[in-house]
Subunit: 411 residues, 2 copies
């Protein structure tokens, strides 16, 4: 069985960095009073309005700030400033919550001296509570655009996360090198009414908005949409990308499919790294699980199977317990909803083939147990032998701590 490898021949170079690595972006964060002590207000600012695309949660209870951000982007498809608070999600807060989100946008726009529709806002935290507007007003007053530090932004958006999440890459577009950076938060999809996966991406690439939008949708579909912590989709999930053109490359447009492909692959890389960091930081997680599915007829089939496996509580507990339980893996494949020829199925845990032709392969349990016990990143490979399509999915194991974090928050 071949190990699955993502083909990236476009020369993506990972770098140290994040949101402010791309030219013309500034970001910061600090404690303003929503939380007891930790940073809770984060901001991003671009020197000039940036072409912007975003995707949002499919949960029907979309939080108020999402509606406001959608309206901002709809107006001109450009954003110059982003403001995020943690601790309160402003979700299920009705008309007052919506007015508060508009007020949050207006105040930050005044602070920046720009029009409100150039501002995006978001919130993450407890559902059903109104934003403390006095605290917010005082916080926005405090923002100092010269005090840029992307690490502080990364900290300010966390809730139950145990580490900050960032990524940066560079890639050549024509004559110019462009940079894409990002920051994210996410741990459980919702935790004691604490919500949300958020990712903010910045690039100095010049790219028309339609191409940026297409690139983001492609990237998210292969990355953020392929992670599962507990299967619960929050009310505030957002991925937003801003492109301000400061790299001065010849603008990327749909008339140049090759440039679009290079940019899309670089953006996908950025999204994948953030998605994996989120999966690894799943509540109570001790291991990152990566499932690579190959030999499918459709990419969507490969993705459905990958997600069924990383989403199975029984697979997750088995990996937590270092149990080489291939029966649970093929069981998840069997109920994934994808039609398959079960006789052709191959499954490997690490490099060890555990299922061949749909039946148990000859392997020593102990070898797999060792692999599961001593690796922090567990790779499961599935080959359907029925086509050429492939996809990956990421998740984490299910530990006592998941139950602890989620059962004993209030009691």
């Amino acid at each position: 069985m071949e190990t699955y490898t993502e083909v990236t021949d476009v020369g993506i170079e990972p770098k140290e960095g994040g949101l402010t690595s791309a030219k013309g972006f500034h970001a910061g964060g600090f404690h303003c009073g929503f939380k007891r002590k930790r940073p809770d207000l984060g901001w991003i600012y671009s020197d000039t309005p940036a072409n912007t695309a975003a995707v949002y949660t499919t949960n029907q209870f979309q939080a108020a700030p999402l509606q406001v951000t959608k309206e901002s982007i709809a107006q001109e498809k450009r954003i110059q400033g982003v403001l995020i608070n943690s601790a309160v999600a402003n979700a299920c807060t009705g008309e007052q919550g919506l007015q508060n989100a508009y007020q949050m946008r207006r105040w930050f726009a005044e602070k920046l001296g720009i029009q409100p529709h150039l501002v995006a806002v978001n919130s993450t935290g407890v559902i059903g509570e109104q934003l403390p507007m006095d605290t917010l007003a005082a916080g926005i007053e405090q923002i100092n655009l010269d005090d840029t530090d992307e690490k502080n932004f990364e900290r300010a958006i966390l809730t139950t996360d145990t580490f900050t999440k960032n990524v940066c890459v560079q890639v050549q577009i024509g004559e110019e090198q462009i940079t894409i950076g990002g920051a994210a938060k996410g741990s459980g999809m919702i935790e004691p009414n604490m919500a949300t996966m958020l990712a903010f991406l910045t690039t100095d690439a010049a790219i028309e908005q339609e191409s940026l939008d297409a690139a983001l949708k492609t990237a998210v579909n292969k990355t953020f949409n392929c992670i599962t912590v507990d299967g619960d989709t929050s009310t505030n999930d957002t991925v937003l990308v801003m492109a301000n053109g400061k790299a001065m490359n010849t603008p990327i447009t749909s008339r140049d499919p090759n440039q679009c492909r290079v940019f899309t692959e670089a953006l996908t890389y950025v999204c994948r790294e953030l998605a994996k960091q989120i999966a690894r930081d799943g509540e109570g997680a001790t291991k990152l699980i990566e499932v690579n599915v190959t030999g499918a007829q459709l990419q969507s089939d490969a993705r459905a199977i990958g997600k069924a496996i990383v989403g199975s509580s029984l697979v997750k507990t088995a990996i937590y317990g270092s149990d080489p339980n291939w029966g649970r893996i093929i069981c998840a494949i069997g109920y994934s909803g994808v039609a398959l020829d079960t006789c052709n199925l191959e499954v490997a845990i690490g490099d060890i083939k555990v299922v061949e032709n749909g039946m148990p392969a000859a392997f020593a349990d102990g070898v797999v147990t060792e692999y599961l016990r001593y690796n922090e990143q567990i790779v499961i490979t599935v080959n359907l032998h029925s086509g050429t399509q492939s996809a990956s999915a990421w998740g984490c194991d299910l530990s006592y701590d998941y139950v602890k974090i989620n059962a004993s928050y209030r009691t």
Copy 2:
């Protein structure tokens, strides 16, 4: 908010009893050697061939015995004997597993002195291991049809279950009283390669096979298809009903919709009680969760919302921790895939309204915490206020013991 009540005006009388309460049925079980000590071989026998209907797992890795049982039923739509072993599921066992299942059927048919196609077989236990055929042969040899004891059957089909599961009701069909009884097993959908939810139902009602089949599908859809322990669907799930006509009622046929309705409601009652017992016995469970959804436009919508709530790991852990976390409930409703007017939503935990018009209601956290802490059966009621349809779903909480049972089986 009204409490949801199932309308049953057909005079169903619950009774002590089980599989052998209906006239002409015998059942037993004993230890034959698949397990170390506990009973592991169970049988059911009807004095005469009984009209039979069955539904099976949708998992594509259907175990070998399911194929054999399907063939049996297809031939004449009648079954006289059923043989089940626990400990080995005979799933993912290829051609040899299939031949072993045929042999199992043949041996039991010889024992009963009937034709093989009048026998159904099933297995539950470890996936990927072949049945030890010598043990099985010796076990079948040992069966004594005079030694009938439904309790022994109930014990013989268990795997990780912590208690036996049975039910019995009587209802009037025309001039005659008919009896329906049943036994079931199920705990996790699969556990260290241990599998399966199984239910066997017997009735002395005279009913044409087509009506029996329709009644079973209706009943299963409202009951067994509405329970969730961990979302994993096993390779061996089967619900099978045998009707031998010994009650001598005027046969129930589709030409008498009223009689069909009475029988279907009684069968649904039986299935619901078994389903709830299975949910309550979910691995590591400390509480049964019942979700009643009303005011939906479609029954399927109500069911989807109920299943999303009982299937949410975050709701399950919150209930384990007695956390009145309504945010997780509405979050699950929001991602259930059902379009709804979020502004009309009402949610109650027990009798306490926690969400009204899609926003938090005025309630004291402490009262809900008390309710969650001191009740073993937790009722969540959801009213969508958008139609007249309703449905229920059942599940259990998610405890440390679920992780323990599923993580530490082999290690």
